[in-house]
Structures are given as C-alpha cells and as structure tokens.
C-alpha cells in the first residue's frame, strides 16, 4: 500500500474512528485502525467488536493494499503534523511497518496483519429508512442523560428506539429507574414496521458525535440484532442490546392533574443554587408549591440550609410538597429548550411528569425522593 493523503482530511477521519477504539484493550488488534487503499480511496475501520465504524477518504493511491496500525498513536502523529501537509503512507517498504512521511518527519509504526482484523458481519438488515440528521441528533441528545449504567439491568444501557402503534412517530425512550426520557420525532417513511430495538449507549453517543452540525440526512438500516447508520462517507454498524425494554407506558402517570408551570431558566438556576447546600450523597431538594410560588429548600446536617423562591402558575389547591434529586432535576431542565417547563404533579410520593411547553414531542418522568 502506498498513497498520499491531505492531512486535514486524514485527521478528520482518524478523529472519527479512533473514538471507537478503547484506551485499554485485552485484544491487541482492537487498538489498531485498519487502513485499506483501493480505487475508492483510503478506508479506515475501527471496532470494539460491538461497534464498527468505517470511513472512506479520497486520496491519491499509488499502490493498493492494506494493514492495521495503532489508532491512537497514528491519530496523535497526524494531529501534530503541520496543517496543510501532504502525508505519505507506505506499507511494504519496511517489513511489518507502516511508514508515515510528511515533509521532513518520518515515522515507522508496528503493524498487525490485516487478515486478523475482526470483520463485523452486517447480516441482513431488512428495515431501511432515511431521517434528517437534526431529528436523530435531538432524539439522542434529549434521552442520553437517562440511560442507565447499571450492568445487571443491561437492557437499560441504551435508547429504546421504536415506532409505536398509537402514533405516527419514531420514539426514543431511556430510563435508569429514577427518571425516564421519552422523545418523539416524525416517523420517517419506511420505519413504520420496524421492530423495537435497544440502541447501545456507545453507538448513540458515537452517532451523535458524527452528526456534528446536524445538516443532511442519515440512512438507517436495521434488523433485530444490528443497526447501521450511514452518514455520507461514514458507516457505523452496531450490535443491538439483546433484551426486553420495560413496558414504560405503565409508569407514565395519566392522572397527574396538579399542573405547575415555571420559567425553566430561573427555576433551574434556583435549584442549582439551593443544591449547593444539600448533602453530597442524596442531593435532595424540596419543592413546596403554594399558590403562585414554589419554594425550593435544601438541608444538610453538616452545612446548614438554604431556600429560594420562583414564581409559578399552579392550578392545585393548598400546598404540595415534593422532593427531588437536584441533579436529576437539572438534567431534565437542561433538556428543555422552550421558555417554560411544565410539571404534572400528583402527590409527594408519585412519579412526576415534566414537559417542555414548546415541544410536544418531549416528555420526562421523574421519581420523587423522600425529604
């Protein structure tokens, strides 16, 4: 393999694929990026066995071929080369080494045979659809905070992506048991019959990174075990989580009739202020909703107490007290783009719904905590 490639294009592609490569690997070849040059250009592949990403970059190929080289090292080298440099890659000149040359710099990197690089079989992906990149970005952005990291309930370690029967939407749901995010985007053509799938956290976060500016469209192809995202020259394929996502509809309360509407920014700022004092472990903040204000208060036996007050619109009678984990509250208010956040409350012990007044497709459920 021998080729010349423009530094910025190479760096960009390496930046994309090296994200997938784990810093610590028990299988040495997984630390490498596969480089293959042919008439289409240079294609770079990285995988962690659950997820594979392939990106093709245009370049001047003099001799086709391929090898695998350490991904992070190669990325660091290319990053440190001067902007605008023309980089020559040569595999074959030195035995078992990839020679990287640019101006007066020369590196020879140890390689591992390309034949040993694991190939992720796509299998048959019977469902195809195309959706705006901005839609998918929004779906991931607003659900990712609720994805669980708990290993025992592995089926919660992703976003449940499905086309429900009750509405013409594509819905993403994530929960860790304490909070739940429920985001809908308009149903792309062809997605109607797709099976409900659990897209792993890493795949979701990688796709989100690749979307960048959010322009253009993304092609999705999936089966009930794999999903493939195609964004121009980049193809990301991931295994899906093999499990059953909980019946989340049952935990979304329908009878919460006490509605509190509050200016989201000032509410979040007040929660953040008051939470400064709440004990590190529980991070509990108490909301006391009374007529036209909500009083936020926090207590810590070691540090003292704090209160703050924000005006609200509240349709309930009397006083309602409810406690929440401050971080969870801030995670949710952080997702709300509109001016107002709406809380559908029942009582201090029941799940609460939080909605974005400006976005009917977004809904969050939050469990209260004892205060």
């Amino acid at each position: 393999m021998q080729l010349t490639i423009e530094r910025s294009a190479f760096l960009r592609a390496l930046g994309h694929v090296q994200n997938v490569v784990e810093r610590r690997n028990t299988i040495p070849i997984l630390s490498n990026v596969q480089l293959v040059a042919n008439e289409a250009g240079l294609s770079l592949t990285a995988t962690d066995l659950d997820l594979a990403i392939v990106e093709t970059v245009a370049c001047e190929v003099r001799r086709p071929g391929g090898t695998t080289a350490p991904a992070h090292v190669l990325h660091d080298i290319v990053r440190k080369l001067p902007d605008g440099a023309q980089i020559e890659l040569d595999y074959g000149a030195e035995a078992g080494r990839l020679v990287v040359r640019a101006a007066r710099s020369k590196f020879a990197l140890s390689c591992l045979p390309r034949e040993d690089f694991p190939v992720m079989a796509d299998g048959d992906l019977p469902y195809h659809f195309v959706l705006p990149a901005a839609d998918l970005r929004r779906l991931i952005e607003k659900t990712r905070f609720a994805i669980s990291t708990e290993e025992t309930r592995y089926y919660l370690n992703g976003i449940y992506l499905h086309a429900p029967e009750d509405a013409p939407v594509l819905r993403g749901v994530a929960t860790d048991g304490h909070r739940l995010a429920h985001i809908e985007i308009s149903l792309p053509e062809g997605a109607g019959g797709m099976p409900g799938v659990i897209m792993p956290r890493k795949a979701a976060l990688e796709v989100h990174k690749l979307i960048e500016d959010g322009e253009g469209v993304i092609e999705i192809a999936l089966s009930d075990s794999k999903i493939r995202f195609s964004l121009g020259d980049i193809v990301l394929t991931s295994k899906l989580i093999d499990g059953t996502f909980p019946d989340y509809q049952r935990v979304i309360p329908s009878g919460n009739d006490k509605l509190m509407e509050v200016d989201c920014k000032s509410f979040a700022a007040a929660v953040d202020r008051v939470a400064t004092i709440s004990s590190e472990k529980s991070r509990a903040v108490k909301l006391t909703v009374n007529g036209s204000t909500v009083v936020l208060s926090a207590n810590s036996p070691e540090q003292g107490s704090g209160t703050d007050e924000v005006p609200v619109n509240f349709n309930g009678e009397g006083v309602l007290e409810i406690g929440f984990n401050a971080r969870y509250l801030l995670d949710i208010t952080g997702q709300i783009d509109g001016e107002n956040a709406c809380f559908d409350l029942s009582d201090g012990a029941s799940p609460t719904i939080v909605r974005d007044a400006a976005d009917p497709g977004a809904l969050y459920v939050l469990m209260p905590m004892r205060v």
Binding site: S148, T152, T175, D176, G177
Partner: protein, 423 residues
C-alpha cells in the same frame, strides 16, 4: 506492683499479697504495676453457648459438650472438657466427633443465647454506657473515669461485673484489661477460662514481640498466609519494619498492623456501632447440587433476612450470596442494587440470579454444603424500595409482600407464606 483480690476486691501493694489475698485468703489475685491506671476492658464469656447449655442442664456439667449444627455443621462452641480432647470452635462437626466421640452435641438455640447475651450486656451497662458489643458474648467496655462514680478502680469494676454475671446469669467470663481495644482483646484470651489478664503500657511492646502474627486482630488466615509468604511469622519482625513499608505493602491493614505492633490503637469504644450486614446461612445435612433445591432454601433465607431488616427499620443496597463447596472453598458473589431494599422478593430475585450464574459457570455438577444470602450497605428503612420506573411490576410484588407482612403481624409468622416456601 499493685495487687487486687478478684473476690473481695481488696487492693494492696504486691508484696503484701504474694500468693493469696491477705483479707479473704482467695488465691485469685491479679498483680500488675499499672493495674489501677488501665480503663479499657474486653469481656469475653467462656465457651458461651456450651456454658449456657450446661447451666440449663446440670447433668451435662462434667460431660464434654459441643454446640453446633448437626453432623455436617461446624462447632460453634466447645466446653472446656471437650477442648481437652482437641475439639475447637469452627472445626467441622465430624472431626470434632472423631476427636471426642462421647461428646454431647447440642443444636444451637440462638434465641436463648441472644437473651442471655442481652442480660449480660445489661449488667455491663449498669457500670458504663460505653459498651461496644462484638458479638452475643463479648464486648468492650470503656471504664475510664468511672472511679469516682463506683468508688473503685476500673479493674475492680470489671471484676465486679464478672462476679455478677457468674452469680446472676450463671456463666463465666474472662476479662482483658489494657489501655486500648486491641490489647484488651488480646489480654482476655490469655488467661481463659475465668481469667483476668492485664497488658500495661510499659510492657506492651515487649509482650507483643514474643507473639505470633495471629495475635493481631484482623489478621485472618489469608493475611497470615501472605505474611508467611513474605517470611513474617512473628510480631517482632513487624516491629522491626518501617510503618511506611507496611502501608505500601499491605494497605490499610498495614497501617493497623504498624500501630498494633507498637501497642497503639486509636479506635474508640462506641456504644452504638451500627449494624453492617444482615444475613442468613445454612449448612446442609447432605451436599446439595440441585439448583431447584438450593433456590427453595434461598427463598426461606431471603424471607428471614427481610423479616430482620424490616424489624430493624433498615434497608440494604447490596445482595451477597455465599456458597461453600464440598472442598470447603467459600464463594461469595455480590450485586449492588439500583435502590435499597427490604423485600424478600427482591433479595430472592437477585440471589437466584447470582446463584444461577455461579451454577451455569461450572461445566460439571458441583455440590454445595452451605448456602447463605445477606444484605450489606445498610441505610434507613424509609428509603427502601422506591418506585422503579424500569420495573413497573415490582410495585405489585412489593404490595403483595407488604400485605403478607400485615397478615403475619396479626396472625403470626407462619400464618401465610408463598408456595415456594413450602418444604
């Protein structure tokens, strides 16, 4: 040298009571230069379970008595007669019976021992509020500063307590008196049974130098093995080592060892040491390899743990499964829960998953001789089992269990139960 008679509590200079008490003639005289200056006592009952059984059945008085769980279990306590045959606690019962075939084996009655333990603790609390129980039958007492209150030295108070326990409860105990917890604990073991041993400041380091590493509180088999591998078998060797080296090599335990070998122990006696774990375990009569049978036992244990944790108004955040294989190897497997629990159902579900994982790991059938399940990471019971958005059906199972509990509260523990709990 100061001497004190343990029977009439007379205190005199040592030379005035060379062998017997000058007042009452008792031979039970304790002598130590720092006798009146030490205030930390460790009280340890002698062969406690066996002593209680002997107290309740005088015909056992001269017989070797072993308390433990059947032929397959281990010895929980052996009376001093049985010990002369080589029976030791924690020894498998079949070995104990090999050493002493005529021993009278009694199944432990933990409720009875707990009641006796409470009685003993109550006597200790008459003298100091600072009583820190280590188990049913042993506790630390901080008697520092009680001289004016009781009109006698801590040593005399400790002797009084033991006398009262003998008279009122009917079991004997040994006292270790020192200036810190670990040394008091070491001391109580020196003169058993009915002992009274003192380790003072002046002699502590020299005394420890002559001891094996096993004397260190917290140095179990594993650590002893590790020390032996590093060529360390005596406390004297540890005394010769730098503290920093010990910490670097053995971590937190290194620090404790470094302090211990210099006769230091900064830990205070605290009366309200919180419960750290609640568990239940069973040694089987016959080895069990059948998963279904193990699950049945696990359920009953989960119920027991749940009952205890509910009555203590606590909740646990980690479920731990314990298995002992026929080769005596112990396996423990833990799992952290998303939320604290006190429900038998939740303990059981996680326990079964841990068990299934362990069983499926083995390529051949493995038999077990012990199974146990427990909760650790205990928190306030009010935080137990919140509504879980990811497990809507858990709410109904929790409601069902609480309903069962209400029936049990009214009609007794056996009034109602799940089918899987049937024998």
């Amino acid at each position: 040298m100061t001497a004190m008679c343990r029977d009439c509590l007379v205190v005199a200079p040592g030379e005035q009571m060379p062998t017997r008490c000058r007042e009452c003639g008792s031979p039970r005289v304790v002598r130590h230069p720092e006798l009146l200056l030490l205030g930390i006592a460790h009280l340890d009952c002698d062969a406690f379970y066996a002593s209680v059984e002997k107290r309740d059945d005088p015909s056992l008085a001269d017989k070797p008595v072993v308390v433990g769980g059947g032929h397959r279990g281990v010895v929980s306590a052996a009376c001093y007669t049985a010990r002369t045959y080589g029976v030791r606690s924690a020894m498998p019962m079949f070995e104990a019976l090999k050493a002493c075939p005529q021993a009278v084996v009694i199944r432990p009655d933990m409720q009875k021992y707990a009641a006796v333990g409470r009685q003993i603790r109550a006597i200790m609390k008459d003298y100091t509020p600072l009583v820190e129980p280590l188990s049913l039958d042993e506790a630390f007492m901080d008697l520092t500063g009680t001289e004016r209150l009781h009109g006698r030295s801590p040593a005399a108070t400790a002797a009084t307590i033991v006398k009262r326990i003998e008279a009122e409860v009917g079991v004997t105990a040994s006292i270790g008196l020192s200036y810190n917890k670990s040394l008091a604990k070491v001391a109580s073991d020196l003169d058993k049974p009915k002992g009274f041993a003192v380790i003072g400041r002046a002699a502590a380091v020299d005394f420890l130098a002559g001891q094996p590493v096993a004397v260190i509180w917290g140095a179990g088999k594993a650590l002893q093995k590790r020390l032996a591998k590093d060529g360390i078998t005596t406390v004297a060797q540890l005394q010769a080592m730098e503290e920093t080296r010990l910490i670097a090599r053995y971590g937190a335990m290194g620090l404790r060892m470094a302090q211990f070998v210099r006769g230091e122990d900064p830990r205070r006696i605290s009366a309200n040491r919180p419960t750290k774990s609640i568990s239940s375990e069973t040694t089987f009569h016959h080895d069990i390899s059948d998963g279904e049978e193990l699950k049945k036992i696990l359920w009953r244990q989960a119920e027991r743990v749940a009952r205890r944790i509910k009555s203590a108004e606590l909740a646990g955040t980690t479920v731990t499964l314990k298995l002992r294989r026929t080769d005596f190897r112990i396996l423990t497997r833990s799992r952290r829960l998303p939320d604290p629990t006190q429900l038998a159902d939740t303990i059981y579900r996680h326990g079964v998953e841990l068990l299934a994982k362990e069983i499926s790991k083995n390529t051949r059938v493995i038999a077990y001789r012990l199974l146990g399940v427990g909760l650790t990471g205990l928190v306030d019971g009010a935080d137990a089992d919140p509504f879980d958005l990811a497990e809507p059906s858990a709410v109904r199972r929790a409601d069902a269990e609480r309903a069962l509990d209400r029936v049990r509260d009214r009609f007794g523990a056996d009034a109602i139960g799940k089918g899987r709990g049937l024998p």
